[in-house]
Each structure stands twice: as structure tokens, then as C-alpha cells.
Amino acid sequence: MFLRNYWYVAASASEVGRKPLARIILGEPVVFFRTEDGAPVAFEDRCVHRHLPLSMGKLVGDRLQCHYHGLQYDRSGQCVRIPGQDRIPPNAKVKAYPVVERYGWLWIWMGDPALADPAKITDFHWLDDANWGAKSSYLYVNANWQLIVDNLLDLTHLAFVHETTIGNSALAEHATVKVTRAPNNVVVTRWIIDQPAPPTFVKVGGFTSNVDRWQIIDFAPPAFLRLDVGATPTGTGAPQGRRVGGITMRNLNAITPETEKTSHYFWGQAHDFDVKNAVLTEKIFEQIQTAFYEDVAVFTAQQRSLDLIPDPPQLDINADTGVIQARRILARLHEEEQAALHATAAE
């Protein structure tokens, strides 16, 4: 199940240059490149002639030339040259996709191009905001995208999957979690009041006494999860919105389905303290990356189980509340999108 009328992260901006880049997005082969003036371009990665991926070709000026018979395509995907032939059939055109470069990522719109409003791109400004130190990365995951969304909306797995890195058992046993559901958004909030700061927080935040700590997960469809985590000295008013003398970090996740069973996982980590300290940024990033590798092992194994027995019955527990709400939103949006598509087709 894919939602098409959304902006997705397709690549990091630095991946796309004058050498064509092939990537499958929502099951469709796409080729990315930049024109000579640096503008990003994305179109169908398949020559209209004999279906060779155009990403195997090369750029001739701003035209992408097929490696097989030299057909050339302009930035709109229109074939503009067929060697040995003057007449170019008007249907010699591949599908072009709207793309926008923002937050160090290249975003693509896979649905109806008429609806591709860049204002709808989900906010990830922490990745390139001068007030934050940040680093982003990419993971290729052999699992359905919704398994990753589920994982990020669930705090209790930290106690088990990340037992040796960022978790502890209290996260699963003694937690009070608030799940706020809006029509197209889920926020999972957890506060830990007047408790010792975890070792990593002590190290970077310099806390010498108890802290008020928060973990706030914000889900926006189709697969954007922005985590706000941090701590302030206890009693200074963070639960009421006054964050002083503490630290805040953002864990930022954008998952793009490749196929029903594989995903592109773009993520980043940002911090609001010592923002120019690149060594610190790297250290924080590496800690989270280690935990993410642990998650990827889980997604991959889940997908293997699902491949053996598709759609098995499953049990839901209280800790799944945020996950269930997100899944319901996604199912409803998919239904709405399909209904609109069928209505258009029937016209």
C-alpha cells in the first residue's frame, strides 16, 4: 500500500549530480540528475524505445542519453533526439516527476503533478538550521515502510531492542504515555519527572541533579517521524513549555517506500547545544546510528516472518496505541486516495 500524493525524500542532495542516479520509489524506477545549472531533475528510468534504464546512460549537456541507442531526453522527459531519424513521435516521452531540494534532501512527488505544492513538504528545518548542529544519513532496509513507522511510534521497544544502548526496562514497565490523535497526525508524549539524567545526557548536558525529561514523537503521513527529546533541571518548567538550562535533540526520520518489501530510510540527528562542535555532532549521531542498526535487524527479521506467512493475525497491546492510530490514518488516507483515483478514472 502506497500513498502517492505526498512529497517523499528521494535522495540526499549530495547524491544527485551530473552522474545519473537510479532509485526505485513506490515501485517506480526513477532516474535523478542535475542540469548544468544545478537544477535537480527526476524522470522515469526507462527508455521508451527498448526499456533500458536511462540511468545507465550519460548526460550530454542537459540531455540524458540512453546507453543503448542514443535517444536523448530533455529535462521534461521529452525525447528530443533519435539518432538516424528526423521525426520524433510525440509520445516519445517518459514520465517526469516534480522535485524540490530542501533540508539537504531531494524531495519527489509521485502522484498527480498538479497537486505538487512545495508548501506541503514536511518541516525538517533542524537539519540545516544554523541554531542546530545536525547530521543526516541513509539506511536501506529490507522491510515494508510501515514496520519502520510502527517502530518509531513505540517507545517500549527501547527497553528490549536497545537494552545495551539507549534503553532501560523502566521504559516498558513504568511509563505513562499520552497519545494525541488529530485527523492526520499522531503525537506520542512521555514525561519523566524528577529523575536522574541518563549517562549520555549527563555527558552532553552537564546535569548535576535530577531532571525533567521528555520524549515527544510526532507522526505525519505518510512516513515522517520527528522526535523531540531532551531534559532540563527538574522543576524549571519544561512540562509547561519553559525549557531553560537543558538540552534538546531532534531525531528526524523520513521513510520512503521502495517496494512493498523494501524501504529507503532517511534520517538525521540534531542538537541545540554546542552547535558548532562537529566532533560532538558526530558522536551523538554515532550513538543513535548504533541503535538504528539494532532496529534494522528487527525490521528485516519481521519482514522475513511476514514473507513466510503474509497477513497473519496479530495481537495488539496498550503500548501499540500510537501505532494503531497512525495505521488507521494511513488506511483512511489510502482509501480516500483510491476513491479519488477511481472517481477521476470514471469521468
Binding site: E173, H174, T176, K178, V179, R181, P183, I193, D194, Q325
Partner: protein
């Protein structure tokens, strides 16, 4: 004794809130570790029960209608 912030003896507990927009949030639904669903509402007084011809025995709460929508959509 459980503390208001959820520390101490409190087991895993989930609070669910439906928020139509910034101004309109429903009262909370609580899912507790012992398997109960607890709703937030106003106790119905004896006087109200008499006026509205409601049973006098047992605990009763009145809930906002939006909470019913939240239950339908979220549980």
C-alpha cells in the same frame, strides 16, 4: 503511592486524546495495565438523576459527545 507524574508505582498506562484542532480536544480515555478503559467525565449527581429519570444506584458519569467520536475512531 502513585505520583501524579506517573512515576513510582504506576504501571504502563496510556492516555488517549482526540484533537480535532488546536481548540477542540476531547477529554481523555485511559488504558490501564490491568486491562481497563477509563473515561474522563463529570459525575452525575443525585439531583440530576432524579430530574432526568436516571437510575439512582451505581456510579455514573456524563461525557462530552465528542468523546464518543473519539472512542469510535480510536479504540
Amino acid at each position: 503511592m502513585a505520583r501524579a507524574d506517573g512515576g513510582g508505582a504506576v504501571k504502563f498506562r496510556v492516555e488517549l486524546v482526540w484533537k480535532e484542532d488546536e481548540e477542540n480536544a476531547t477529554a481523555s480515555i485511559y488504558l490501564t495495565s490491568d486491562g481497563r478503559v477509563i473515561l474522563q467525565g463529570a459525575a452525575v449527581s443525585r439531583a440530576e438523576r432524579e430530574t432526568l429519570a436516571l437510575p439512582l444506584e451505581g456510579d455514573m458519569i456524563s461525557v462530552d459527545r465528542r468523546l464518543i467520536r473519539a472512542i469510535k475512531d480510536m479504540l
